[in-house]
């Protein structure tokens, strides 16, 4: 049985880039449980026993943030949890054949620089970055260590990759929302709050793609079609968030859109607290905001995807050969409790569309 397991595992390992497939994945999990942290497991997992792989990640979140906090049961609901679980499905067990290193760029540009340098010094096998800012910083520091970015709205535009199908260089990753999503967010928030006259767009120009312009075209087009005035609410730091949101509490009736921006994710508690405080309905691009008490969010589903690429890279595939993936599924989350608090009635069309309705 044990021997068979080893043979199976080895065979599987030599097979090259293997996707997540139901049966082998289950078999692998079973096997991993069986092998545990033994040397036999070591060999069986196909990793060279003399070298512990290093998977490094750079996040804009504070290491105190819930999203970076490690728990015993790694859930796939966070990006980090999804990665760890996905890698485990693919035969990579933390502490057995790879080491997981996380650094935070939280705290300003100096912090980012230090964190990047620390990661480079580790000589990791692959570096995962959270967003465009970190990706650019790491990419500036190394042209050899493979980089996988978790979200990048416009990698071609940012100059990270040559094309989505054939990135080239040492970087690949996943795009998030397309530019048309600006109009979609506006439509969705209008359905929840039909009588708005203006819409506030919250973003940090330093961390949002195209300093916010990436989504604004479609948003402004939709606003024009629906007779809503678009008011930009850029923020430079967390202290400005409260003030920026407060401006939309007073009439004329307003709602807000939170753009895809790592800064906003980092400061999501502040934003949601301010939105609740000033009773401003706001739509967010990620479900993280919902966990923090947001009204509704619409965006690409966080599928377990980065684990695939980390696995392939750890097995020797060049990052530049891996296409940049676009999102496949989008999900709409609505918190009816928050909606009631805001005095909103969520219409059928929205409820029919919602993937998850929280009470």
């Amino acid at each position: 049985m044990h021997l068979a397991g080893i043979i199976f595992a080895k065979h599987f390992m030599t097979e090259g880039p293997a996707p997540a497939r139901v049966m082998p994945a289950v078999a692998r999990r079973d096997f991993i449980r069986l092998a545990g942290a033994t040397a036999a497991g070591f060999l069986a997992l196909g990793a060279t026993p003399d070298r512990m792989r290093i998977v490094a990640t750079l996040t804009a979140l504070s290491l105190e943030d819930d999203l970076t906090r490690r728990s015993m049961t790694e859930a796939a609901t966070t990006r980090l949890g999804g990665l760890i679980a996905g890698l485990r499905q693919r035969g990579w067990v933390e502490g057995v054949n790879y080491r997981f290193e996380i650094r935070s760029s939280f705290g300003g540009p100096d912090k980012l620089k230090t964190a990047v340098q620390e990661l480079i010094d580790l000589k990791p096998d692959v570096i995962l970055t959270g967003s465009t800012g970190e990706t650019a910083a790491v990419l500036a520091a190394t042209k050899t260590i493979p980089i996988v970015f978790a979200t990048s709205n416009d990698p071609v535009g940012n100059g990270f990759v040559e094309s989505l199908a054939h990135p080239g260089g040492n970087v690949t990753g996943f795009t998030s929302s397309t530019p048309e999503m600006g109009g979609k967010w506006l439509q969705l928030i209008r359905e929840a709050v039909p009588d708005i006259a203006r819409v506030g767009v919250l973003f940090n120009p330093a961390t949002t793609p195209g300093a916010g312009r990436f989504y604004l075209d479609s948003l402004e087009q939709e606003a024009a079609a629906s007779g809503v005035r678009v008011i930009l609410a850029p923020v430079g730091n967390s202290a400005e968030v409260d003030d920026a949101i407060s401006r939309f509490s007073a009439p004329p009736k307003a709602a807000m859109i939170s753009l895809v921006d790592s800064f906003l994710v980092v400061n999501r508690q502040t934003i949601i607290a301010a939105a609740a405080k000033y009773r401003v309905p706001m739509i967010y691009p990620f479900h993280y905001f919902m966990d923090a008490g947001g009204l509704m969010s619409y965006g690409p589903t966080l599928e377990v995807r980065s684990a695939d690429y980390v696995d392939l890279i750890l097995r020797g595939t060049k990052a530049g050969d891996l296409p940049v993936q676009s999102p496949r599924k989008y999900e709409l989350l609505i918190n009816r409790t928050v909606a009631k608090t805001l005095g909103l009635t969520i219409p059928f069309t929205l409820l029919a569309r919602a993937d998850e309705i929280r009470e």
């Binding site: 065979h11 599987f12 097979e15 090259g16 880039p17 293997a18 996707p19 997540a20 497939r21 139901v22 049966m23 094309s163 989505l164 199908a165 054939h166 795009t175 397309t178 048309e180 999503m181 109009g183 979609k184 506006l186 439509q187 479609s218 939709e222 695939d308 392939l312 595939t317 050969d321 891996l322 296409p323 940049v324 993936q325 676009s326 496949r328 599924k329 989008y330 219409p347 059928f348 069309t349 029919a352 569309r353």
Partner: protein, 898 residues
């Protein structure tokens, strides 16, 4: 198995037969198994391959159906949406059904409803803001046209965001003015389906669209890269509508792995679902099957080898046992019983072997019994023969002893007679000084004749004794045979004529030749034969015939003496050649004679390797035939029978006996020589030094110095010329001859001195008639005699005699010394006689001679001479015994006969 005991004995390394059987059976088994396995594997391989290809086709078809169903489901949903009556949406948001549809089908990213004219009524999207009633004109779009033309339109695959495969699906509701619903389907949702298709353990299925572009692959990467596979030959062939090969296609996949590939077409979409299984896995069952077959083959081979081993052993062991048994029976082990229990012909053969061995055993037993019987018979016969032989030996011993006694007696008698006769004859010869009266002269003549006869008798006895003792040897030289015969005839003729008988001599021409032989002995034989003829023929005549047959290097002399005498009875023909025998006792009385003549003649003839025979009829006459082979002489010898006295010689006569001196001197003067007398050795030496002598006649036994020593001293004198030394002695013993030979004295004249003998001796040139009979100087033992004795008696008898001689010799020497010390000459003589007798038995010739001398001379010896003689005997005995020991020691080891 069988015959444990025998088998243990017979176990040998497997032989050729065993190997032959073993190899044959193994080869047969191997061939059968290998062919069987090969066919089995081959057919199994083919079947498996076909089966595999069929299975894979099934899988491909199944996958194609699944994909078809997936798309078909979406189509159905879109169709359902298209068929909804417009009234359903009037009271509500127009988008609601579309939103429901999106919720129902995640693969649909966007859905648009066009009216019959192609104007957009509703658009609901996941990505962009929904739109209602935009009236945008899509009538020219392929989707609208396609849906109008047929019930369902499947657009080409396109990629959104470079990486996301999408397809446009349009359908049109039934009815005249039915709406057209266009759905953008995200084909990435097929990936989950494709990834879920199980192809073996490691096989893959992937989907290619109608253009050959990869739209779904279990591995993210190739699908995301918008790979165009239309250049691949198999994809190209499939797109061109060529059906998949029935046995599947073997090719290399993206990762370079060799795979077994087949495909199926998705109905209505025209997509191709390729199913690929790595060969390593696909053929694994085949390889496993081959492995099982091979393993089974090896196991069966091993088993076959074991069975072959067992079979070969079973077949060869009995044969080996038979072979071994035959060998052992052949080498004489008849007790062997083969125990072969194979229950077949081999067992029968083994039984035959056993029966054969049993028969042989019985035959041998019978044979052995007979051999034992015969052996015991032979042993008895041998014992008997040995007993007889012993008796014969004893008888022979007695006879030999008797003979010896006779010879000794004869020798003593003749010796004792000689000495006084010497004196008598000498004096008789001297008496005739020319002054005698007629009567005196006649008396003197009678006396002389009687003396001559007596001497002749004594000589004959002595000669016979010597012949009998084998001490006589031939003295050979070249001579004219005819002269010899004629001389003998002339010598005897007067006698015959005087008796009134006729005497004829007839000589063959071949007789006139020179031969090499002993003329003296031959002459003696002839004289004897003629004398006998004259003696025993009262009337008639004598005829002598001589002939010679010449051969290569010798001539066979053939002499016949024929008479008309009294004849000899037939029973006496052989006896007359025995000693002291005459044809009739009365004959002796009538004719006289010793009865030794013929015995001597025959012995001399035999000595010459000739034969003497007689034919006779009593009252008619006798014919004696003499056959003697003689070597042809080198040259003719002109030998005068009576050579005239040549010249006067100065002769020194040395003798201590005054009578002999006187006789000798007289004879010498009669012969016309000039004698000088020396009465002892010293005087002789002195005289020889003072005046020159031509010849010295030396007596051997002298009181002061014996003849040999005197001769030696004379030889040392610086004389010119050196006189010839002739020894005069009555001692004819061999020891004396040897002493003389040692001293270089070759000429001997025997006592009593006869004028003729003396004349012959003096006047003969030296160097002629050297006594060839002398043994080698210093020889103590007569080897020839000893060899003869040994041949006759056998080595053991000789050894016994040797031992006996050793014992008695010591005792006798002691007796002799005692007798000498006591001054008892008689006892000395008796003991010397005994010692001599004993010594003669083993051929100790010098000891024998000395004993006889002592025996003969003892009575006259002084006591001191007796002691000297005793010492001499003791010394000689010791030397002789040593020589005998030395000689017999090697001889006893085996071979030496000389």
């Amino acid at each position: 198995m069988n015959g444990q005991v025998d088998q243990g004995d017979l176990r040998t390394p497997p032989g050729k037969l065993f190997r032959k059987y073993l190899y044959s059976i193994v080869a047969l088994a191997f061939a059968a198994l290998a062919i069987n396995t090969a066919f089995d594997v081959w057919f199994s391989y083919r079947e498996q391959k076909q089966l595999l290809a069929a299975t894979q086709r099934e899988q491909a078809a199944s996958a194609a159906i699944q994909i078809g169903q997936f798309i078909g489901q979406i189509e159905n949903q879109v169709r359902w949406f298209a068929r909804l009556p417009p009234e359903l949406s009037t009271n509500e948001d127009e988008r609601l059904n579309a939103i429901r549809l999106l919720r129902l089908s995640p693969a649909i990213a966007e859905i648009t409803e066009l009216d019959a004219q192609g104007h957009e009524q509703v658009r609901v999207s996941r990505r962009v803001a929904d739109r209602i009633g935009s009236k945008a004109d899509f009538s020219g779009s392929p989707a609208f046209r396609g849906a109008n033309e047929s019930r369902a339109y499947y657009g080409p695959v396109y990629f959104f965001g470079d990486t996301e495969p999408f397809m446009t699906l349009a359908t049109r509701a039934a009815g005249q003015h039915a709406n057209v619903v266009v759905a953008e389907v995200n084909l990435r949702f097929i990936w989950d389906l494709v990834a879920g298709i199980r192809v073996g353990n490691t096989g893959k299925a992937y989907v290619v669209d109608r253009m050959g572009v990869l739209i779904a692959h279990p591995d993210l990467w190739p699908a995301l890269q918008r790979s165009d596979l239309s250049a691949h030959p198999d994809v190209r062939a499939a797109l061109d509508g060529v059906g998949p090969p029935s046995g599947g296609l073997v090719k290399e996949d993206f990762s370079g792995q060799r795979v077994l590939s087949t495909y199926a077409t998705v109905p209505s979409l025209g997509w191709l679902v390729f199913v690929e299984l790595p060969l390593s896995e696909a053929y694994a069952p085949i390889y496993a099957s081959i492995g099982r077959s091979t393993f089974l083959l090896i196991v069966l081979l091993a088993f076959a080898a074991l069975v072959s081993l067992w079979l070969s052993r079973r077949m060869t062991v009995p044969i080996q046992m038979l072979s071994q048994g035959a060998r052992r029976i052949g080498s004489g082990d008849l007790e062997l019983r083969l125990a072969i229990r194979t229950g077949d012909e081999l067992e029968a053969l083994g039984d035959q072997f056993n029966r054969m061995a049993a028969h042989l055993r019985e035959s041998y037993a019978t044979l052995e019994r007979k051999v034992i019987e015969r052996t015991s018979e032979l042993e008895r016969a041998r014992d008997h023969a040995l007993a007889e032989h012993d008796a014969a030996e004893r008888a022979r011993g007695v006879a030999v002893a008797a003979n010896e006694t006779k010879l000794r007696f004869l020798a003593v008698v003749s010796h004792e007679l000689r000495t006084p006769l010497n004196g008598v004859m000498g004096v008789l010869q001297l008496l005739d000084d020319g002054s005698l009266s007629e009567i005196q002269r006649r008396h003197l003549a009678t006396a002389a004749a009687s003396g001559e006869t007596l001497i002749a008798l004594v000589d004959a006895i002595l000669e016979y004794a010597r012949l009998e003792a084998s001490t006589e040897a031939l003295e050979t030289r070249d001579f004219r045979l005819d002269q010899l015969i004629e001389t003998a005839a002339d010598l005897m003729r007067p006698q015959a004529v005087g008796k009134g008988l006729s005497f004829d001599l007839a000589c063959d021409g071949a007789v006139g030749t020179t031969v090499h032989g002993d003329p003296v002995r031959l002459n003696r034989i002839l004289l004897n034969l003629i004398g006998n003829a004259i003696k025993f023929t009262p009337s008639g005549g004598i005829s002598v015939g001589a002939a010679a047959e010449r051969h290569d290097d010798h001539a066979l002399i053939h002499v016949t003496v024929r008479d008309t005498g009294i004849g000899i009875a037939a029973d006496m023909h052989e006896r007359i050649f025995e000693d002291f025998v005459q044809a009739d006792d009365s004959i002796a009385r009538r004719f006289g004679g010793t009865g030794l003549g013929l015995a001597i003649a025959r012995r001399l003839t035999r000595l010459m390797r000739g034969e003497l025979m007689v034919e006779s009829t009593p009252g008619v006459g006798s014919v004696f035939t003499l056959l003697v082979p003689l070597r042809l002489g080198a040259r003719g010898v002109a030998q005068g029978v009576q050579p005239p006295p040549s010249r006067q010689l100065r002769v020194l006569l040395v003798d201590d006996d005054p009578v002999n001196c006187e006789v000798g001197e007289a004879i010498l003067r009669r012969l016309g020589h000039q004698p000088t007398i020396a009465r002892n050795g010293a005087a002789a030496v002195a005289l020889a030094g003072e005046q020159p002598f031509d010849v010295i006649l030396m007596d051997l036994h002298m009181p002061d110095m014996d003849g040999v020593e005197a001769a030696t001293r004379i030889r040392r004198l610086p004389l010119q010329p050196m006189p010839r030394i002739i020894v005069v002695t009555a001692d004819v013993s061999r020891s004396t001859s040897e002493r003389l030979a040692t001293a270089g004295i070759t000429e001997v004249v025997s006592k009593p001195i006869l004028i003729s003998a003396l004349r012959e001796a003096i006047e003969d040139e030296p160097g002629q008639g050297a006594p060839a009979s002398l043994l080698e100087a210093g020889a103590l033992i007569d080897w020839h005699f000893l060899d003869d004795q040994r041949n006759l008696l056998g080595a053991s008898q000789i050894a016994k005699l040797h031992h006996l001689l050793n014992e008695t010799g010591e005792k006798l020497i002691a007796d002799i010394e005692a007798a000498a010390a006591a001054g008892d000459p008689k006892q000395l003589a008796r003991s010397a006689h005994q010692l001599g007798s004993a010594a003669s038995a083993l051929g100790l010739i010098r000891l024998f001679e000395l004993c006889r001398e002592v025996e003969l001379t003892a009575p006259s010896m002084s006591s001191e001479a007796c002691r000297d003689a005793a010492r001499e005997l003791a010394t000689l005995r010791e030397a002789s015994m040593n020589a005998l020991d030395n000689m017999l020691a090697p001889a006893q080891e085996g071979t030496a006969t000389r």
